[in-house]
């Protein structure tokens, strides 16, 4: 694996952001609106309920973490779509770059931009609503890593779907985080879900992240079990998504889909 070639893919995304400030604004605008909305709701809830519950960390933390996951997933897909829209696959894949290096470039650029946006929004939440990640302690890092890898895995699956079904499949991709959010207990424990839905929740790594973070906030208990199960599960997702992507890419090479990849009628 030649990391310099992956860097070229990252550099392309950075050039795109430098060339067009609306791309930079789009990274922050929605999560900023979310922070305002949930931040003020949190303030209101604090006035209604008894003291002792850290609503700010509970809700704003969840919003920020879920946005981090969504941004990583969408970041990979967006970077891939840049090549779809520019009809750049022929130019790229007729060079020595391998599909692994290309994918790594997408992952790195998404992680870089997603982490930058996460840091800025963390500061915004801190300044406006007094939110602090210190409430979670250093234990949040491995859980953040689980969300990062889950975002990468779903990003890879999304890219595979677009490759296999064509660019019009984008309507399936964008709502994925919104569709998943009720089942992973972003704002509430998964025990409130019906039993049959809890089975689905337990198959999704973010469920373990949010359960564990609530456990830290309310009971000051670090759940090593949640970390382990979530960690193993997310690695299974990463392995499976990579395998699906490689299989899809090879299918495209066999069927001659890649060099015509701007057509809407790809099946």
């Amino acid at each position: 694996m030649n990391l310099v070639r992956s860097w070229a893919i990252v550099l392309r995304q950075l050039y795109l952001m430098r060339c067009n400030y609306s791309r930079v604004i789009s990274i922050f605008i929605w999560v900023f609106v979310d922070i305002l909305l949930w931040g003020f709701l949190t303030k209101y809830l604090i006035t209604l309920t008894h003291k002792g519950i850290n609503f700010t960390s509970l809700i704003l933390g969840a919003v920020l973490l879920w946005d981090f996951f969504s941004r990583i997933m969408h970041g990979i897909t967006m970077a891939f779509f840049e090549d779809v829209w520019a009809r750049n696959f022929i130019n790229l894949f007729s060079t020595p770059i391998t599909v692994g290096e290309y994918l790594l470039g997408l992952i790195l650029s998404s992680t870089l931009i997603g982490s930058f946006a996460f840091t800025i929004m963390l500061l915004v939440a801190m300044i406006i609503f007094g939110f602090s990640f210190l409430a979670y302690g250093i234990t949040i890092i491995p859980f953040l890593l689980i969300l990062l890898i889950f975002g990468i895995s779903l990003g890879i699956i999304s890219v595979s779907l677009v490759l296999r079904l064509g660019p019009s499949a984008e309507w399936i991709i964008w709502p994925i985080p919104a569709i998943l959010s009720p089942f992973v207990g972003v704002f509430y424990p998964i025990s409130v879900l019906p039993t049959w839905l809890q089975i689905l929740s337990k198959s999704l790594p973010p469920s373990y992240v949010f359960e564990a973070l609530r456990s830290i906030l309310f009971y000051k208990v670090f759940s090593i079990g949640d970390l382990l199960v979530g960690g193993v599960l997310v690695l299974i997702y990463l392995g499976s998504s990579s395998a699906i992507f490689l299989r899809t890419f090879n299918y495209c090479i066999r069927r001659g889909i890649l060099y015509k990849f701007n057509a809407e009628n790809i099946t």
């Binding site: 030649n2 310099v4 070639r5 860097w7 070229a8 550099l11 392309r12 050039y15 795109l16 060339c19 067009n20 840049e82 090549d83 520019a86 009809r87 750049n88 696959f89 022929i90 130019n91 790229l92 894949f93 007729s94 060079t95 020595p96 770059i97 391998t98 090879n250 090479i253 066999r254 069927r255 001659g256 890649l258 060099y259």
Partner: protein
Amino acid sequence: MLKEILSVKDISKRFNDILALDGISFIVSSDEIVGLLGPNGAGKSTTINILLGLLKPDRGEFWVDSLSMHNDREEVLQRMNFFAHYAPLPGNLTVFQNLYIFSIVYGIRNKLEVIDTLLRQFDLEKYRNTKTGLLSSGEQTRLGLAKAMLNSPKLLLLDEPTASLDPSRAKEIRGVIKSFVRENRCGVLWTSHNMYEVEDVCDRVIFLFRGRILIEGNPKDLLYRWEKSNLEELFISLVNEPIYFKGEL
């Protein structure tokens, strides 16, 4: 002494019921420009895309500079480059950014120097910081050709390289490509529907028809042999009466 740069052996490709390529074999040598001709659907683009590694053949193999695409993909693609009018560089990046990114991908050492030379050679210096999408189609063609020469390839694949150029610029670009071939002793596989251009630049031509090579040779020899006054005439009779040429198969 000419060195074999591209060696294609018995390549076939089928798309469902359509046999796009039916066991074609040919070579391209260093310092040689080979025209790949044929009517629409003859298999030219399929051949080019197989050579670029964007399409997997059902059967057969090819070697670039004695390296097999099957076993040494990265090394093979490092020795090749291509330009096609239907594959423009990303329009939302500047001319320089596009060339810089591809120079990283190809592992060029003295990137800035190489890019400056190519910008000068293709008269693109004043567009260095212009977004590619804002260039005229002729300027985009010149940029695409500059990209194709970034890594000093040993094999250059050109799919209708002058399709969007005015006659004067097309002649100039043909001159640049020819001198690039002589200086770098590279081989070129050139597809075009402009038979005048093919006669002008190609040392040898290969006529594809329904996925098979119908005739192959030096343009002048072919015209003499089939008693035609120019390649366009030969092309038309080949498409209209392919059976007449079947004896060549």
